[in-house]
């Protein structure tokens, strides 16, 4: 898929339209000029969410009521779709070709993999970030998995409340089992769906992992079920059912659910050692890039098209050698968007990329001699 152009109105400090190139797009400018805002606009157009804030309405320019991001996506040579995210007051509306659309359908139009400071939690944070990474991947292949996750979380929430209530009351263990069984019954099926989705996805990642993308670094991954060593994972449903029965008293004492894939993790080893505990900051970033690239490959082999790849503040996150490897790897694959404040990077990739200089929220495309070819902002219309 290809994002042909994006047009922004009152989103952060941005305004105007930018036509993107189909390979590498370098968004270049001094800090505070709005580089990341453009990346955020692309991300928001794709996901209807921001990678910087939970409250999207905060992204509307201060003092304005209406913020709009619009963009055209080419799904093939002949199929183009106009996507729009409109933020007004506390409401967000999304549309395809000018017609309001349900989120589920909208989200399939423009897929992104984003390497951001937040995403680094995958390699240096808790298991939650890694589970989310896997779940995003599974969703990118099977959209119905969104519902599985929602149902699972809902059942866990209901069950946790039951466990707390039961602990506060004088219920016998039999009584607790009687009222908790209808929830455990659902947990078994939903856990199995999640387990299968994630393990299958990890196998796909493994198959395409560019283990030595950054020279002598070797990365291996493995899905670690919290039920490992407790029985036959091959018959997952039976194992979960057995553990739920066996651990009811323990769950009751804890006051929350102890059994299920919400306790699982993705093990990431770098040169044989746990990346989170032993990896240097540079190795952690390499590992995440390798995982993101694997996610892109898996997506490609499933859908036969590439998602967009976004990297915010590429110099802060990766050294020049890694950037070079990465950008060369991506050539001919994804439509890539990176932000940088380093002129030397721009100069190095000038001939092989589209460079956009951002100042004061406006973006203009600059050519090989760094002179102005076209002012992208001029083509902007107010909407």
């Amino acid at each position: 898929m290809l994002l042909e152009w994006i047009e922004v109105h009152n989103f952060r400090n941005l305004s105007g339209r930018v036509s993107w190139g189909n390979g590498l797009n370098i968004i270049y400018g001094d800090n505070g000029q709005g580089k990341t805002n453009w990346l955020e606009a692309i991300y928001t157009l794709a996901t209807t969410k921001s990678f910087r804030t939970q409250k999207l309405q905060e992204a509307v320019r201060f003092g304005e009521d209406l913020g709009v991001i619009r963009g055209r996506v080419a799904r093939s040579e002949e199929v183009h779709r106009d996507l729009q995210v409109t933020l007004q007051g506390n409401t967000k509306t999304i549309s395809i070709n000018g017609k309001r659309e349900a989120v589920a359908r909208y989200l399939r139009q423009l897929n992104t993999v984003a390497f951001t400071a937040d995403e680094l939690e995958v390699v240096r944070g808790g298991p939650d970030a890694r589970r989310k990474f896997l779940d995003r991947g599974v969703v990118s292949l099977h959209h119905a998995y969104v519902q599985t996750l929602a149902d699972y979380n809902r059942v866990i929430k209901q069950k946790n409340r039951l466990l707390q209530d039961a602990a506060d009351s004088e219920m016998s263990l039999d009584e607790v089992e009687r009222i908790i069984s209808p929830w455990n019954e659902q947990l078994i099926g939903l856990s199995a769906e999640i387990h299968r989705g994630r393990t299958d996805y990890v196998e796909r990642l493994k198959d395409v992992l560019e283990r030595r993308l950054f020279e002598r670094e070797d990365i291996t991954i493995r899905y670690v079920s919290s039920l490992e060593g407790k029985g036959d994972l091959g018959d997952y449903e039976a194992l979960v059912a057995e553990r739920l029965k066996l651990r009811l008293q323990a769950e009751l004492s804890a006051g929350y659910s102890l059994i299920g894939p919400h306790r699982d993790d993705l093990e990431i080893l770098f040169d044989g050692r746990d990346i989170r505990a032993f990896g240097s900051s540079g190795q952690q970033r390499s590992a995440l890039i390798i995982l993101d690239l694997a996610a892109i490959s898996v997506y490609y082999s499933w859908h036969n098209e590439y998602p967009l790849f976004l990297i915010d503040d590429v110099d802060a996150e990766l050294d020049r050698k890694r950037i070079r490897y990465l950008l060369e790897y991506l050539e001919g694959r994804t439509q890539t968007f990176i932000t940088t404040s380093k002129e030397s990077l721009v100069e190095e990739f000038m001939g092989r990329s589209n460079v956009f200089r951002v100042s004061d929220g406006m973006s203009e495309e600059i050519g090989p001699e760094m002179d102005l070819i076209q002012s992208a902002a001029k083509g902007a219309e107010s909407i």
Binding site: H143, V146, Q147
Partner: protein
């Protein structure tokens, strides 16, 4: 000081108690009432009072009714060997519209939801088990119970809980199917529904 005179404020507050009515709507409704002719207001009050005075839960199936037992439970041409369990009276209406189900109903008035403080004792279940005795069912034995609770986690838990109660009694327990809405194009069905429909496919 209050924004409006006391009686107006009181009325706005009452409207705000209703589900789905926010501040703005409550004000609009209150001012509408102020403009209504006296007779209309009287009729409205009467309707409110009457619904409280005359509508009761059927002692057999818990459906809303003005006669006890309700018209379903006292009917002589319904199949008394089948009971369809629904969460709310409007679910019953939806099934009844099909005109193809001729059995009886049982209304739970809710579904299990610990986070909303709703447990088995809060559902109208106690009078369900007594219905299985033929002497309480015009001498007819109940052969099948259809669980038509909502297709969400709370509805599933409720269906599961009830099936555990009933199955030991040797009564057939069925759950309504989930899948494709009829008369729609495959294209327009959301993925989750399609996924369920595929999983629940059957041989033809």
């Amino acid at each position: 000081m209050l924004e409006y005179a006391e009686p107006v404020t009181k009325l706005i507050d009452e409207f705000k108690r209703l589900p789905g009515v926010g501040n703005k709507s409550a004000q609009r409704l209150a001012f509408h009432v102020l403009r209504m002719p006296e007779a209309d207001v009287e009729r409205f009050i009467e309707a409110l009072q009457e619904v409280k005075r005359r509508i009761i839960f059927c002692s057999v199936c818990n459906n809303l009714t003005d006669v006890d037992p309700c018209r379903f439970c006292s009917s002589t041409n319904r199949d008394r060997s089948m009971i369809c369990i629904v969460e709310e009276p409007y679910n019953l209406v939806a099934i009844e519209k099909t005109r193809s189900y001729r059995g009886l109903y049982h209304v739970l008035h809710g579904s299990l939801s610990p986070i909303r403080g709703i447990g088995p004792d809060d559902l109208h279940l106690t009078n369900l088990l007594t219905r299985f005795r033929p002497e309480n069912n015009d001498g007819v034995e109940v052969r099948e119970v259809i669980l038509a609770t909502n297709p969400n986690t709370e509805g599933e838990a409720t269906a599961n809980y009830i099936s555990r109660l009933i199955k030991p009694l040797g009564i057939r327990v069925t759950r309504i199917a989930m899948g494709m809405p009829v008369g729609s194009d495959l294209e327009y069905v959301d993925e989750v529904t399609m996924d369920k429909a595929l999983a629940n496919r059957h041989e033809i």
